[in-house]
Each structure stands twice: as structure tokens, then as C-alpha cells.
Symmetry: C2
Subunit: 394 residues, 2 copies
């Protein structure tokens, strides 16, 4: 009596995982330094020293249960208070602990946010290019995920297509800015236009429409880039955050749901998250990690290498004739492939030990994603390989 639903999913092996396994194999043959593995979004910089120090201090505590004991189901109260205070100070909204729910990373945050405001039969709209895991998140609820085609000129929102696809069945709109995989950051203009449209539709349909803002890359924004905080522009915003990228600890599974304090149901949604946890096997992020992260909330790892790498790649690739929107943040860049079939293109790139991810699964065929969270010297050396690759298409 094996559950067929999940058995079927086994067939769909992740392209990214396949590529990264290939890269690991290839590294054994030609040496790790000669494989330009741009496949995996694993941060390449160290956790801040302050985080490690706080973690060790906590672990050394005589009061074992104060550190390793059960967390309340909504998260450790002092941690929620600190997260609320930090968000309020930074973004000017009046967050209290009642608006914060601690989660196992952004995945945990999205799982709860979606369950809180979306039920079976509802529609959720997102925008290509998009993080492919949104599909199982939404399908698992019995809801429908509709993907708005990309605006490849700007990698902002394709409002024309969006407005056409919108209906009264839409319970939530799911955005990801700074964006994986495009690296684009939605501008204040984009967010304002989106907020105005949703407010209008709320009035027209007579029900709330939630904006779920997936922001694990919020702290990786490059110089002079306009990066608005979504919740400031729309009342029914549920912010989903992860410290994975900002603190370089993706394996420690720590993040939160923050509901806009101006949302009348904010506190209700948070207490509901505690109920949603029951049954899905979530039950709070690790206590030790909650407590340690709460000590370094306003810190980040040294993220500057990402901007350095981005500039090298953006300049190098555009010079070689690639077309590409300049990333405003994240550690991704998203150029157009040199042939229509990005899968064929990425396969061809393997000839030069360039591991690139075709963007078909991101809802943007013809493009490819590069995760440049790798050493800068390797990024530089990879340009020679790109030169050879580009020549093959001249």
C-alpha cells in the first residue's frame, strides 16, 4: 500500500541535482579546480564569527534544558520578540511577537503561509522565472499554481499577462524578490503597481487576497539597487524569510513567517501556524539555532563576494555576446542561451566543464541559471571556457 502520489514523483529527478552529481564525478577526473560548477545555490562564504561564538556560548551553558529544551510551538518567545523588534526598526512597521512564527527555513515558512490562506481548489499565482519547488508546495494543498510568463526584457512582472490570468479564485500571489533564478529585484514601482492591482481586486471580489513574499535573498542586494520591503506596500502581506543565505547556514533550517502587523488577521494567522505545524511534522526549528540566530539578527556573513562575482560575470558574458538583465541581488545570473534549446546549450557547455542549469523548470525556456557562489578566481577562469563556448555558436 505504497502511496502512489509520492512514488510517481520519484521519476522526476531534479535537473539541478543531476548536474551537480555530474559535476562531482567530473571533478574526480579532472580536478575540482577545473570544473566550473554553477549549478548549486549553496552559499560559499563562512557563517559570521559572532554566530559561532554565540552558538558555542549557548551550547556551553550549564542549563541544558534552557538551550536544548522544547521550543513553544510558535517559536521561542524571546526570539520572536527580537525578530519583531529588528523588523520594526528596519522597516518601520510595528511588528510584535504576535506577528512572528519561527520556521524551518523558507520552505517551512512557505508551507505554513500557504496553508494558512489557501485551501483546496483555490488558485495561487506566481511569476516566471520561479523557484520550481513552488509547484509541490501548492499542489500538496490541492490548490492550483498558475505561472505568469516572464517579462524577459526586465525580469520584472509581466502585468499584462498577470491581469489576464487573474480571477476571483486567486487566494494568494506568491513573489520572490530578489529572485531565484533571475537575480532581479522588484522595483518600488513594480511592488506599488502590484499592490494597487491586488487592492483593487480585493474590492472587486469582496475577499482578501494575500501576497506571500518569499525573501530568502533579502540581504543580498547590490549597490544602488532599489529594493523595497514588500510588506510596506500591501496590508495582506505574509513575509517568508530564511537566514540560510544571509548568515550562510542553509543546513540549519531557520527562518520565519512575519505577517504585516496592519493585517487585521495577523495574530490569527500566526496562531494558526501553530496548528498547521501539527500533522505536517514541522514542530519548530531547533532551539539552539533559534537562540543563536536571535543574537546576530542584524548581522550578515560577508556577502560582498557575490557582487564581485556578479560584476565579473555580467561584464564578461555581455562582452561575449550573451544577453542578460543585470542582477540586482542574490547569487544568480540568468543569461539567454545561445541557441533556442537551453537544455541542448547546457549539455554542450559541459564540453568546457561549465555546469549551467537550463531554465525550463523555472518556467523560462531558452535561458539558463548560474549560481555564482563559488570562489572569484574560479569565476574569472571560467570566462575562458565561456569564450570557447560562445565561439561554437558564431
Amino acid at each position: 500500500m505504497i502511496a502512489e502520489e509520492f512514488k510517481q514523483m520519484l521519476g522526476q529527478k531534479s535537473v539541478i541535482r543531476e548536474l551537480s552529481e555530474y559535476a562531482a564525478e567530473r571533478a574526480k577526473q579532472v580536478g575540482y579546480e577545473n570544473v566550473f560548477d554553477y549549478s548549486l545555490g549553496n552559499p560559499s562564504v563562512s557563517v559570521p564569527r559572532a554566530f559561532t561564538d554565540k552558538l558555542i556560548e549557548l551550547a556551553s551553558s550549564e542549563d541544558s534544558m534552557a538551550v536544548h529544551g522544547y521550543s513553544p510551538s510558535l517559536g521561542i518567545t524571546s526570539v520572536r520578540e527580537k525578530v519583531a523588534a529588528s523588523l520594526s526598526e528596519r522597516f518601520g512597521l510595528n511588528y510584535k511577537k504576535e506577528h512572528i512564527f519561527m520556521t524551518s527555513g523558507a520552505a517551512g515558512a512557505l508551507a505554513h503561509a500557504l496553508r494558512a490562506v489557501v485551501t483546496a481548489g483555490d488558485e495561487v499565482i506566481t511569476f516566471a522565472p520561479f523557484f520550481p519547488e513552488y509547484t509541490p508546495y501548492v499542489h500538496g494543498l490541492g490548490a492550483v499554481l498558475k505561472v505568469v510568463p516572464p517579462d524577459t526584457e526586465t525580469m520584472q512582472i509581466n502585468f499584462e499577462a498577470f491581469e489576464k490570468m487573474f480571477s476571483s479564485k486567486v487566494a494568494a500571489v506568491l513573489i520572490n524578490t530578489p529572485n531565484n533564478p533571475s537575480g532581479a529585484v522588484y522595483s518600488t514601482e513594480t511592488i506599488k503597481k502590484l499592490a494597487a492591482f491586488l487592492s483593487e481586486k480585493e474590492k472587486e471580489y469582496g475577499h482578501d487576497i494575500y501576497l506571500i513574499s518569499d525573501e530568502p535573498y533579502r540581504e543580498i542586494v547590490f549597490e544602488h539597487v532599489d529594493a523595497p520591503y514588500t510588506a510596506q506596500y500591501y496590508t495582506h502581506t505574509i513575509t517568508c524569510y530564511s537566514f540560510s543565505k544571509s548568515l550562510s547556514l542553509p543546513g540549519e533550517r531557520i527562518g520565519y513567517v512575519a505577517v504585516n502587523p496592519d493585517c487585521p488577521d495577523a495574530a490569527l494567522i500566526i496562531t494558526m501556524c501553530g496548528q498547521i505545524s501539527r500533522g505536517i511534522g514541522h514542530n519548530c526549528p531547533p532551539s539552539l539555532i533559534q537562540l543563536a540566530v536571535a543574537q546576530v539578527l542584524d548581522m550578515t556573513a560577508d556577502l560582498s563576494v557575490y557582487e564581485t562575482n556578479m560584476n565579473i560575470l555580467y561584464d564578461g558574458l555581455t562582452k561575449l555576446g550573451f544577453s542578460c538583465v543585470k542582477p540586482g541581488g542574490t547569487f544568480y545570473i540568468f543569461p539567454k542561451a545561445l541557441e533556442d534549446d537551453a537544455v541542448a546549450f547546457c549539455k554542450h557547455a559541459l564540453k568546457y566543464d561549465l555546469i549551467l542549469v537550463p531554465a525550463d523548470s523555472f518556467g523560462c525556456p531558452g535561458y539558463f541559471r548560474m549560481a555564482y557562489c563559488i570562489p572569484t578566481e574560479k569565476v574569472e577562469r571560467s570566462l575562458t571556457a565561456f569564450e570557447k563556448l560562445a565561439k561554437d555558436y558564431q
Copy 2:
């Protein structure tokens, strides 16, 4: 568009939580030492020093990503190998990493095990007294949880009632031994009888029936108690484990699913767990904790205090006229209340600052649970309070 299903759940405030909040309030008035709080199953002993040392050693590593990086979706490979080796050595089954899936505690393990072998419309059978969180676990799948009434004479399985309730719709049987709340440990005789019955039913109905064995208290078994390892007796066993109690770190959310290696679908179920994780927001237990626990797999915290406390309580309570099956493990004892209505009894006990949990929500009305993971001297002092309580019923 708030999801009504979870909003409705908010009404059902947990009795245990309510009592423990009352106990905390009362402690402020009369002093912590004067409140005998038996409500919460939070381990009272420290994590082993070796765990803390390994954790600090790992956290101090120069290679930040090797410690804090993403875990593969089934768990860190070296950790799965070590868990498999430890189980094989201890229980004589040939576990390999292919049979192990790392989870966020037992809750995560149960969420995956149930989803792997139970689908909407199926029935799951469990035995009273039972852990009340099984209800949302099973209902969340659209399946039906059937609870076999208790055998209060022995707190083993009431086979007569069980056999009557069994039907071809049963996809899985869920047991918890050593048991929360009764403290009973299923004997070899019980497990053999259960296994034989299920094997017979598998033949009769022509489909697999899984035995999901929830074993977070496996390491807390008292002297001379017969405590069989369930998977040794039944091929289709899925073992759900948590290190919360054995290592005293319930807040760190670490456990595993182990499928009997002799089960033909063992490796399939484990890879399916990786797919189940997608969408429910699970995504692996924390890397640092996985790595640290793997270093102390065959260790436990000093659990001896639980047996000491149990003996004091068992002797003291039976002398006062309470009837009670002697616990074989865990840190729970489960006496019969001195009046039919255990809720009224527990309310009355508050008069003497005894915080006891009525067992109605455990499917065993008329009984109450005591979690004696508190200091021994407090257990001793509490007997005076019990004496006063018992007098009121003479």
C-alpha cells in the same frame, strides 16, 4: 480567505498546555519548589557532555559549509550510514543507509512514515492510551484513525477489541512502546501476537499492512523489563525514532525513519520520504545537529533518575491506594483517578499544587498521567500532597 480547518483547531486548546501554564503562574505565587508540576514531558537531565563537546568541535570547524551547508534531502550520507550501522549492531537486522531517512524528531518521522504508506480514505489503527497528536497526523492525510480501547489491567494490547475493529481498509497500525502515557512496554509476547495477526491479515486481504513503531522512549527501559525491538518481529515495520529523550535534546528536532531492511519496499519508502518532504516544509533536520548526534549514537544522557522517580511514585501511590500498572519505561506513570471523572479529580488535585493530566485526551478516561521528569527530592515531597489528596476520597 483564512483556512477554516486550522482556524477551527484553535478552539481546542491543549489541556496539557493549559495546566502547565497554570503551574507556571502558581509557581510565581507560592514558589517553584512548592508546585509539583507533573504535566510536561520535557526531559529533566542534561545532554551528555560528549554531545556538547562534539557540537562545539564541529561549530569551531574552519570549513563552515561542511558543517552548516545543505543536507542532502534524505539526510547527511555519513550520518545515515552511522545510524544504520548502530541499529544493525544493536538489533541484528542488516540496516544500510538506504533504509534510513533523517527527520525533525519523531513528529517528522511519523509525518513521513504515514504519508508513505497511508492515503486518503485508508484506516490507521492505534491503541489507547495513545499520544493525542496522532489524531492530526492521520487526519491531515484524509485518513481515519481508529483507536482500540485500552486493556487497563495490563496496558498491553486489547487484542479482542483490536481484531473486531480490523478491516481490509487498514493500511497501517501505529504503536508506541515504551508508551506515552502509560509507561507500559509491550512484551515480546504482545509484539509476536501482533505480528502474527498482521501477517495473517496481509495474506487474507492480499496487501501489505505496515506496522509503524513510534519509539522515542526506546532507551528509557527499566531493569529486567522485556523490551523487544519491534522490527525484529515483523517485516513491514517502519521505526520512527527521536533522540529527544535519549539524549535530552527535545528542542533540537532530530530523529529518523528506519524501514526494516527485509521489507521489499524499504529503499523505495526511504526515497519516497525525500519526495514527501517537498511541500510539507520539512527539508531535513539541522546539519550541525545531525553531525553531532552521529558522534554519540550509542550514548544516552544519564537516564537513571527516571527509574528512581518511578519506583518512589509507584510504591508511594500504590500504598496510598492508587491502582496503577507498574511502568516498564518512559518517564510517565498512569494511575487510575480516585473518582470516575479524571478531569474533576485533576482539578481537585490543584488544591495541593499537584499538576496532573487527565487521560481523556489519551483515550483512557478515568486515568491520569504524571510526567516524573522532575527532581527526585520534589517527587518525594509530592507524596505528602498525594496523601492529603487521597484522604479527601476516603
